[in-house]
Symmetry: C2
Subunit: 667 residues, 2 copies
C-alpha cells in the first residue's frame, strides 16, 4: 500500500477538499520549514515505511507481551541498520535520528515504543555531555556503531523527581581502584529505564558517591550489565522487565539491582567532578551546564506534543467528515457530524493548538541554542528564565495534547475506542509525557517559584523577554476589541493579579506563624494556576507573533489568523473566571467572546479537512482506520477486524473446552 | 492470600489509621446499606475471590488477545456455574448477578470485561420486556439456565445513537411465515455487541421491518447465530470479533452480517407490535414503556461510576500516604506526598465525588422504581423529567469518574502508569461508559432540550422536583455564607441565567433567519454547558439532602458534612466563571471559597486514608500493587514484575535472533 492512496476517496471527504480556500502544499512547506524539508521528509518516510520488513505480519496489539517485545527488537535492529546504511551512503545526520525516534516517523514504525531509544537519546548524550575527552574516545565510537547498547538508569523504585533522594551507592575502593555499586534497599532498585529489561548491555547509572568515607552526592557511572557475547547478566546484577503498562509496552522498561558490582575508577564520568586513583575527590562548580540536556529534551517533548496532537486531530476531523449521524433538520438526510457545533468545538481549538505548540517549540529551540552558546562563554544570566519557560511549556503542552487527544478520541464515539483508530495508543504515548522528564505539577511549581521570586524582587524585569508584562500589565485598561492583542492584555493583567494574590496568601500565612515552606505549600493550588496562566500567555503571544511576521500568501495568512484567534479566544474563555475576577472584563464581554468563538468555528469549518491534510501525515504514520486520506472508514475498520487472530477460526477452541460443557450442564 | 492481609502494614499507613476520628465500620455499613448487606457482600466476595480456579496463572495482561479471550471464557463459565450453585443452595437472587456483573466484584474477577455479560444484562431483559407471554415461556427458561447464550445486536458499523438510521432489514415472507434478514451494506453490519464475536449463539437483533411492501420502523427479533452443537455460524451469518480496543478486551465485541437469513415469524418480539401470519402489521402505542430498561441501565452506570472512582481514590490515597518525595522543609526527611496541598486537591474532591455519585444513583434508583410503577398504571407525567435527569446524571457521572480516575492515576506518577496499579484498566472501563448507552454530549443536549422546553413554557414547574429552582432562583439574592445552601442558591441562579441566555441566543438566531434547528445547533455549546450545570446542581443538592437527614453518629456526620461541603465548594470553584457572570458573586467571595476549599482539604487530611478504608474494597478487588491495604507498595510492584513472562529467561531469544547479529555487524 502506498503512503497516501489517491484512489476511491469517500465522496464527503472529496467534497470537503474542494471547499479549501488556500494552498495546502504551501501550508505543508511552511510547517516543515520549507519545500526541501518536506521533500526530505517524504523520502525518509518512503525509505522506512514502504519497507515490507518493517511491517508486522499480525498487528502487534494482538501479540502477547513477550511476543510484542521480540517483534519490537526485530524492528528496532532493522531500523537502525537502515539508518546506518543511510550514513554509509552519505545521507546521515541528526535528522534521521530525530525522526526515527520522534512522534511522526518513529511511532509509525513502533507505535508502542522502541526498546533502543534511550541508547541514542540518553546513553550517548550523557557520555558526550559528562565524559572527559578520554572517556568519549573510549565509549562514543563503540556506542555510535552499536557495538554496545546502553541506557540511562537514574529513577529508582522509591525515588523519582527528587534525585537527591536516590539510594544506590558507589563506594570507591582505592586498593583495586574500583567503585563498588550496591542497592541497599528494595526502594533503591533502578526502575523505569527504557531498554533496561532485556535490550541494553550497558548503562549510565546515577549513584551516591562515597570516597575516603565521605559522601559527595550523586554522580554518573558507566556500568556493564550483561556479557557482550552471551548477554547473560553479569554477577551481582539483578535485572529484568517491570511489566505491562498503560502504553509503551515495547520500550522494555526495566529494573536493576546491584550486589557488590565492581567497575573501574575510570567508568565514573568525570568531565565535571573527579575521583583520583587514591580516592581524592575533586569537584567542579559548573553543574549548571547539565541543565542543557534537560532543556533539550523538553524542546523535543513540546514538539512531539504538537506532532501527536496533529495525528489525533487529523484522524478525528477526517472521520467527522465521513461519519453521518442524526439530522439537524428532520427533513434532510443524516448529517456529517462535523456540522455539529459541539463537534467543531471539540476539534477546531485542538487544531489551533497544534500550531500554537509547534511555534512554542520553535521558540524554545531557538532560545535554547542562544542560551547554550552563552553558557559556553560563561554567561548564565538567561538560564533561569529559559528553565522556567521550558518547565511550564513542557507541562502545559503535554497536558493539553493529552487532553486534546482524548477529546478527539471521544469525539469519534465508539470507533475511537478501537485500537485500529490508533487514538488509544497515541494517548498512551502522550499521557506518559505528563509524568516523565519532570512531573507536570512539580514543573508548574518550579515556574511559580521563579515567578514569585521575580515578583518579589521586581528588578530587571524589563530584561526578561517572557515576563515584561509583570511591569506593564497592571496599568493597562484597554476597552474590548476583537483582537488577540486585547486578549493578551487582559490575560496578562489576570496573571499579574493572580501572582500578586498568591504572593499575598503566602505572606498572610507567614504572618499567621507558618514557615515560608509551609505557607508555600498551603498556597500551592493558586501558585500552580498562576504558572499555568503564565504559560498560556506565552503560547498565545508566540503564536500571534509568528503569524504576524509570516511571509505567506494572503489566503493562507487568513486561515492562520483565524487559528491564531481561535486559540486565543479558547484560552480566554477557558480562563474566563480569572478574567472576571482580576480584570474589568464584564459579562457582556464574555458573551462577545463566546460569539466570536462561534464565528471562528464557522469560518474554519470549510477548511477544517484541508488544514489537517496540510499536516501531511501519511496513512502509514497515522495507522488509523478512521483517519486515512481516502476516508474509507468502514472498509478499513472491517479489514482491521479481519486481522484479529480470533477470526482465523470460525469456532474458538474455548467453545469445546469451556462453553459447551457449561451450556450442556443443564440438559 | 486472604482478601485483606492484616500483617506487616506499612508504618506510614498504620500511623494514618491511628489518626481516624470516626468509626470506619459505621461508614462501611452506611455505604453498603446496613451491616447485613456488608456481611452478605463479604461472604460473596470470599466465595468468588478466594476460589483458586478464578485466578489466572499468568496475569491476563501478559497474554495475547486470543489467549485473553480463552481465559475470560473459562472464568466466565466458572463464575456463572458458581452463581447457579448458589441458586441451587437457595442463596440466589438478583444481587448475585448485579455484583457479578458490576464494578466491584465483577471487575475483580474479569478486570477487562466478561464475554457473557450481555446475555444477562440485555438478552434476557429484552425478551422479558418486549416478548409476549408465549415468547417468554419459550425463551426465558432456556436463557436463564444458560442452555443458550444471547447478546443484543443493535448498533451498526455506520449507525449508533440515531437508531432510526439502522439499515439491517427484516422482510416478512407470508409464504413461509418467516422473516428474511439482510445486511444491505457494509455500514449495516452489526458492530460492537459484547459476546457476539465467538461466545453467543443467539442474539436479539434490531432491524427495519418490512411487511406487505410497507416499512414499519425498527423492531427486535430473536436470531440464532450458531449451531447449538458445533457452534459453527449458521448459513448466511457472517460473524467475527471486532479486534483490540483501548480496554474491555475480553468482552468479545463482535460484528454480524446477514445474507438471506430466515427466522420464524414468532421470533419477532411482539409484546408491543405484531406481524400476523398473513403479514398484517398491528401496532401498539405503548412504546414509551421501553424507556424503562434504558433508564435502569443508566442507574447502574451512575452506581458503577461511583464504584470505579472509589477504587481509584483508594489506590491513590493509600499510595500517597506511603510514597515519600521531596521535602516541604529542607531540614526534614522526604515527606509523604499526601502532605502536598496540590496532591490533596487532586484526591480529596474525588473522594467526595464518590459519595456524591452514590447518593445520586440511590435517588435515581428510587425515582426510577416510583415512576415505573406509575407507568404500569398508565401515568406518564413524570417520565420526561426522569429521562432528562437520567441523561444528565449518566453524562456528568461517567465524565467526572473518568477524569477523576485519570487524575488519580497521574497523581501516582510513573507507577500509576503500570498495569499493576490497575488504574489504566479501571480508566479503560469507565471511559467507555462515556460513549456507550448514549454518548455524553448527545445526552446533555437531550437534557438541554427538556430544560429549554420547560423554560419556554414556564408551566407546572413547581411539580418538577429537579427544576423548581427555575421559578425561585432568579429572585434569590443571598449574602455569602460558608454553607452549602448558599452555594446551591448561586449555582441555581447561574443555571437559570445560563438557560435564559442560551434561549435568547436561539431566539436571536431565529430572528436573523435561521431555522429553529439551525439556531439550536449554533447555540449548542452553551446548551451543553447549561445542562451540565443543571446536573451538577442536582448532585450537590442530593448529596446535601442525604447528609442532612442521615442517622449516624456525630463523629461520622462531621466527616460526611466536610465531604458534602468539599464537593459543593469544588463545584462552585469549577463553575466560578459562571458564578461571576450570572450572579452577584464578587472576587472577594471567590477568594473566600478558595480559602474554604483549602480549610476543608486540611480538615479531611487526617481522615483521608480511613475514609477510603471505609469503602472496604478488598485487595483482590482493587488488584493494585499501589493500593493494597498493607501499603507494601514496592514489594508488590516488584512481585508483580516477576510475573512478566519476559522475566522467566535471563536472556530473551530475540537477543540471538536480532540483537546479537546487529551488535556484531560492525566487528
Amino acid at each position: 500500500m502506498s503512503l497516501n492512496t489517491p484512489n476511491k476517496v469517500n465522496p464527503d471527504l472529496a467534497s470537503e477538499r474542494t471547499k479549501c480556500t488556500f494552498n495546502t502544499l504551501e501550508l505543508t512547506h511552511h510547517l516543515d520549514g520549507g519545500a526541501l524539508k518536506t521533500e526530505e521528509r517524504k523520502i525518509r518516510e518512503k525509505y522506512f515505511l514502504e519497507d515490507p520488513e518493517l511491517q508486522s505480519k499480525v498487528p502487534m496489539e494482538y501479540l502477547s507481551h513477550k511476543e510484542k517485545y521480540e517483534e519490537a527488537v526485530r524492528k528496532a535492529c532493522l531500523v537502525f541498520k537502515k539508518v546506518q546504511q543511510l550514513q554509509n551512503e552519505g545521507k546521515g545526520g541528526m535528522d534521521n535520528f530525530r525522526e526515527i525516534l520522534g512522534g511522526r516517523l518513529g511511532s509509525a514504525i513502533l507505535g508502542d515504543g522502541n526498546p533502543l531509544t534511550l541508547h541514542f537519546v540518553m546513553f550517548i548524550p550523557t557520555i558526550m555531555g559528562q565524559g572527559t575527552f578520554e572517556q568519549q574516545a573510549e565509549w562514543i565510537e563503540k556506542a555510535w556503531d552499536c557495538k554496545i547498547i546502553g541506557t540511562y538508569a537514574q529513577t529508582e523504585l522509591g525515588h523519582g523527581t527528587f534525585i537527591r533522594g536516590l539510594e544506590t551507592t558507589a563506594v570507591y575502593d582505592p586498593k583495586t581502584e574500583e567503585f563498588v555499586l550496591n542497592s541497599p534497599t528494595l526502594t533503591s532498585y533502578k526502575w523505569w529505564p527504557g531498554g533496561l529489561g532485556h535490550s541494553a548491555n550497558y548503562a549510565v547509572v546515577v549513584a551516591q558517591l562515597y570516597t575516603k568515607g565521605k559522601w559527595h552526592g550523586i554522580h554518573p557511572f558507566i556500568v556493564q550489565l550483561r556479557d557482550e557475547e552471551t548477554h547473560m547478566p553479569l554477577p551481582g546484577i539483578k535485572i529484568g522487565e517491570i511489566g505491562c503498562k498503560l502504553g509503551m509496552n515495547t520500550t522494555n522498561n526495566g529494573y536493576l539491582g546491584f550486589e557488590n558490582v565492581r567497575i573501574p575508577r575510570t567508568n565514573m564520568l568525570m568531565k565535571n567532578n573527579k575521583v583520583l586513583p587514591d580516592g581524592t575527590y575533586e569537584s567542579s562548580p559548573s553543574s549548571k551546564l547539565t541543565y542543557g540536556t534537560m532543556i533539550f529534551v523538553r524542546v523535543v517533548l513540546v514538539q512531539d506534543a504538537s506532532t501527536y496532537l496533529k495525528k489525533a486531530v487529523t484522524i478525528a476531523t477526517r472521520y467527522s467528515a465521513v461519519r453521518r449521524q442524526c439530522q439537524i433538520n428532520p427533513d434532510k438526510p443524516e448529517t456529517q457530524i462535523l456540522n455539529y457545533v459541539t463537534q467543531q468545538h471539540k476539534l477546531f481549538p485542538n487544531i489551533a493548538t497544534c500550531f500554537a505548540l509547534q511555534y512554542a517549540a520553535n521558540w524554545l529551540w531557538d532560545v535554547y541554542n542562544e542560551v547554550n552558546s552563552q553558557l559556553e562563554t560563561g554567561q548564565l544570566d538567561n538560564l533561569p528564565e529559559l528553565h522556567a519557560t521550558s518547565c511550564v511549556l513542557k507541562a502545559v503542552s503535554t497536558a493539553d495534547a493529552a487532553l486534546g487527544i482524548e477529546t478527539c478520541r471521544l469525539a469519534c464515539g465508539g470507533h475511537g475506542y478501537m485500537a485500529s483508530s490508533n487514538l488509544p495508543a497515541t494517548y498512551g504515548l502522550v499521557t506518559a509525557m505528563c509524568t516523565y522528564e519532570g512531573e507536570n505539577t512539580v514543573l508548574l511549581l518550579q515556574t511559580a517559584r521563579f515567578l514569585v521570586k521575580i515578583w518579589q524582587n521586581k528588578k530587571d524585569i524589563s530584561k526578561l523577554r517572557t515576563l515584561q508584562y509583570l511591569e506593564t500589565a497592571l496599568n493597562h485598561r484597554v476597552p474590548f476589541s476583537k483582537t488577540v492583542d486585547w486578549i493578551l492584555t487582559v490575560l496578562q493583567t489576570a496573571a499579574v493579579r493572580k501572582i500578586e494574590l498568591a504572593n499575598k496568601h503566602i505572606n498572610d500565612r507567614i504572618k499567621s506563624g507558618q514557615s515560608y515552606e509551609e505557607a508555600w505549600n498551603n498556597s500551592s493550588i493558586e501558585l500552580v494556576e498562576a504558572a499555568e496562566i503564565h504559560g498560556r500567555i506565552f503560547i498565545v503571544d508566540t503564536f500571534h507573533q509568528y503569524v504576524q511576521k509570516l511571509d505567506v500568501s494572503d489566503s493562507l495568512k487568513t486561515v492562520l489568523k483565524q487559528l491564531d484567534q481561535l486559540y486565543a479566544v479558547s484560552q480566554a474563555l477557558k480562563l474566563s473566571g480569572h478574567l472576571l475576577l482580576f480584570t474589568d472584563t464584564t459579562a457582556q464581554t464574555i458573551e462577545k467572546l463566546q460569539l466570536w468563538l462561534e464565528e471562528l468555528l464557522a469560518l474554519i469549518r470549510p477548511n477544517a479537512v484541508s488544514i489537517v491534510d496540510s499536516f501531511d501525515i501519511c496513512d502509514a504514520s497515522l495507522a488509523s482506520a478512521l483517519g486515512a486520506y481516502d476516508g474509507n472508514v468502514y472498509e478499513r475498520l472491517y479489514e482491521a477486524a479481519q486481522k484479529s487472530p480470533l477470526n482465523t477460526d470460525p469456532v474458538n477452541k474455548s467453545y469445546n473446552s469451556y462453553l459447551k460443557p457449561f451450556l450442556k450442564s443443564h440438559l
